[in-house]
């Protein structure tokens, strides 16, 4: 793009974190929001549903090979457990394809891609990455610019190693104050969905900031970035800090640069929304939109049939710990089916070793495999006609998890667990030890 006077002036001005990462990926000293750039990919993530089964025939049609197999990560999570012939075939294609394409970063049945990716040390601050799944912005929790794309666009990435991008503006979502006990990142995110609406993010970058964010653990940060698409953002970012560094080092990542990947003070943003963590009550989003969020009191007493702790959004180790705090020594109401599908094998094993898993299972939960399952409406456990569920997942669109007449409420793992015990939606703060 030619450097006109306005452009060069903008280049001299402060850059957001999103601009800095995009500029580096585009091979430019700086970029301006609205500018169309071609970026080189550091990483491309695919799962079994949108990945090999879709791109393999397209690659063959083009007679093309993967630009760099070492920058590709494939995770099976959508069609596991493979409960029928079609599912088995889809999983087999993934297994065959990674072998033929020379993709060594293949995680088969290890959990949901967005959680497995950082666990296995594939993310670091400043990366520019895509994933063949809308919840790919989860990587933003680690200071990576990561967003979801469809299968044909993934094909383009696999062939060229590049993608076009309209440089985003940044929408700052700043949180101050301390969360009360029993309130989680999920409640923060649902509150933001309620305030911004499903398209408030305008396909720009949202950045979560402020002392409340700094105080969050990595998995809680992941929950926020995971749901950036639910406010219509292309990606969600959190500037990396010592919490990021410590987590990544444990995952085996070396040479972590946190200081380079910070927005400049005074960088222009499109909007700046402020939220008060101390005033936040548990949030529940009513059917059929995450934007239908309100304090739990508005829906208290709504009877439920199913309480589901699952998905990359809501069944990480810390979500399971939240549920266990509520469920320890209690039982789910007799008419409620309590279901747990841990987000990753690693998290499940830690939860098992420390007793978290037992606390949930002893409360009557059935344990499903570490896969997307009900959240995506895949597999054998879909919601039946007229069933009412409360879930720790990201989306409650009509019919997403099963029958069009089913109704899904979204809440934190605390709220899902407490509602399972009560048999109706209730405030988890009443049940905390």
């Amino acid at each position: 793009m030619p450097m006109n006077e306005a452009g060069s002036k903008a280049y001299a001005t402060a850059q957001t974190l999103a601009q800095k990462i995009v500029a580096r990926a585009a091979g430019k000293p700086a970029v301006t929001p609205g500018e169309i750039v071609i970026c080189k990919l550091d990483l491309a993530l695919m799962h079994d549903s949108g990945g090999p089964r879709r791109v393999k025939p397209l690659l063959e049609h083009l007679g093309a090979r993967v630009w760099n197999p070492d920058r590709v990560v494939v995770v099976t999570d959508h069609y596991l457990p493979a409960h029928d012939d079609e599912s088995r075939r889809i999983i087999e294609i993934a297994r065959d394809w990674v072998r033929d394409a020379g993709v060594r970063n293949f995680y088969d049945g290890m959990g949901i891609c967005h959680v497995v990716l950082p666990e296995k040390g594939h993310l670091r601050p400043g990366m520019f990455a895509v994933g063949g799944d809308s919840h790919s912005p989860t990587g933003g929790a680690f200071g990576a610019y990561m967003f979801g794309i469809g299968a044909t666009e993934m094909l383009g990435v696999l062939v060229t190693g590049e993608i076009w991008l309209r440089v985003p503006q940044t929408i700052l979502l700043e949180w101050t104050g301390r969360l009360a006990d029993g309130i989680a990142a999920k409640d923060m995110m649902l509150a933001m969905c309620g305030k911004l609406g499903l398209d408030g993010g305008q396909y720009q970058a949202v950045q979560y900031s402020g002392e409340t964010i700094t105080a969050l653990s990595m998995q809680e940060r992941m929950t926020l970035c995971n749901m950036a698409p639910e406010v219509g953002a292309q990606t969600g970012l959190i500037a990396p800090d010592e919490v990021t560094r410590a987590w990544l080092e444990e995952a085996g990542v070396t040479k972590i640069d946190t200081s380079r990947w910070q927005g400049d003070p005074g960088a222009a943003v499109a909007a700046h929304h402020c939220f008060d963590a101390a005033a936040l009550a548990p949030q529940v989003a009513a059917p059929h939109s995450p934007a239908n969020a309100a304090p739990v009191a508005e829906h208290a007493g709504t009877r439920i049939d199913i309480a589901y702790i699952g998905a990359c959004t809501g069944a990480k180790l810390e979500d399971m710990r939240m549920a266990a705090r509520v469920l320890k020594g209690r039982r789910a109401a007799s008419q409620v089916r309590l279901i747990l599908a841990p987000a990753s094998r690693r998290d499940q094993e830690i939860a098992r070793a420390e007793g978290t898993l037992d606390a949930i299972i002893d409360a009557g939960a059935s344990l499903l495999p570490t896969a997307c399952g009900i959240c995506a409406g895949y597999g054998a456990n879909r919601l039946e006609e007229n069933e009412v569920a409360i879930t720790s997942t990201a989306r409650n669109f009509k019919g997403r998890m099963g029958a069009a007449s089913s109704r899904v409420y979204l809440g934190s793992a605390y709220t899902v667990a407490a509602s399972a015990v009560a048999g109706h939606i209730c405030d988890p703060r009443e049940m905390l030890p």
């Binding site: 879709r54 397209l58 083009l62 079609e86 044909t152 666009e153 292309q234 879909r382 998890m401 069009a404």
Partner: protein, 166 residues
């Protein structure tokens, strides 16, 4: 291009466009269930050349490309909406399905006959006589659409590169 419009509201999501239950099936089967939870007769009654008209944030949700692919498979000629979810928009263009941004899409009624020129960014409503201005499709995407989508675009690019090498 001209055809009949099918009108939907705001936030038409990818789960109603491509329900998870049928995602393992081929596009033929999946397309039969496109939008069925909001308009059961849509897939059976939509005709090649028709238009799907939405409000704000059309295509919210998943990255599943089968959402625009199902519409294309049913013969939908173009989409007209006040705005699109960004991921869906990219997918539609990549598949060669024009997604037209029209601030006044809300003025189109179900069943209106439209004449649509995606590149010029112009809609003639033949039923009401009204003409609606739309945002022109950005140049780099107009080229993709002219090629028929990202696949044919890549084919051209690879043929060019291979030609240079040989």
């Amino acid at each position: 291009m001209s055809g009949t419009s099918w009108v939907f509201g705001d936030n038409v999501d990818t789960d109603v466009l491509a329900p998870g239950k049928y995602m393992k099936s081929g596009i033929e089967e999946l397309a039969r269930h496109c939008l069925e939870s909001v308009l059961p007769n849509f897939a059976a009654d939509v005709r090649p050349g028709d238009f799907v008209v939405g409000g704000r944030n059309f295509g919210a949700g998943s990255s599943r490309e089968q959402a625009p692919e199902a519409l294309r498979h049913l013969g939908v000629a173009a989409l007209v909406a006040v705005s699109y979810a960004g991921l869906f928009y990219r997918n539609a263009i990549n598949l060669g399905l024009p997604a037209i941004v029209c601030a006044n899409a809300g003025r189109i009624r179900a069943g209106d006959r439209l004449n649509v020129d995606p590149e010029a960014g112009r809609i003639e409503n033949l039923s009401t006589g009204e003409s609606l201005d739309c945002e022109p499709i950005p140049p780099h995407l107009a080229q993709l659409l002219r090629d028929g989508g990202l696949m044919p675009h890549l084919e051209k690019r690879l043929a060019r590169e291979r030609g240079i090498r040989s």
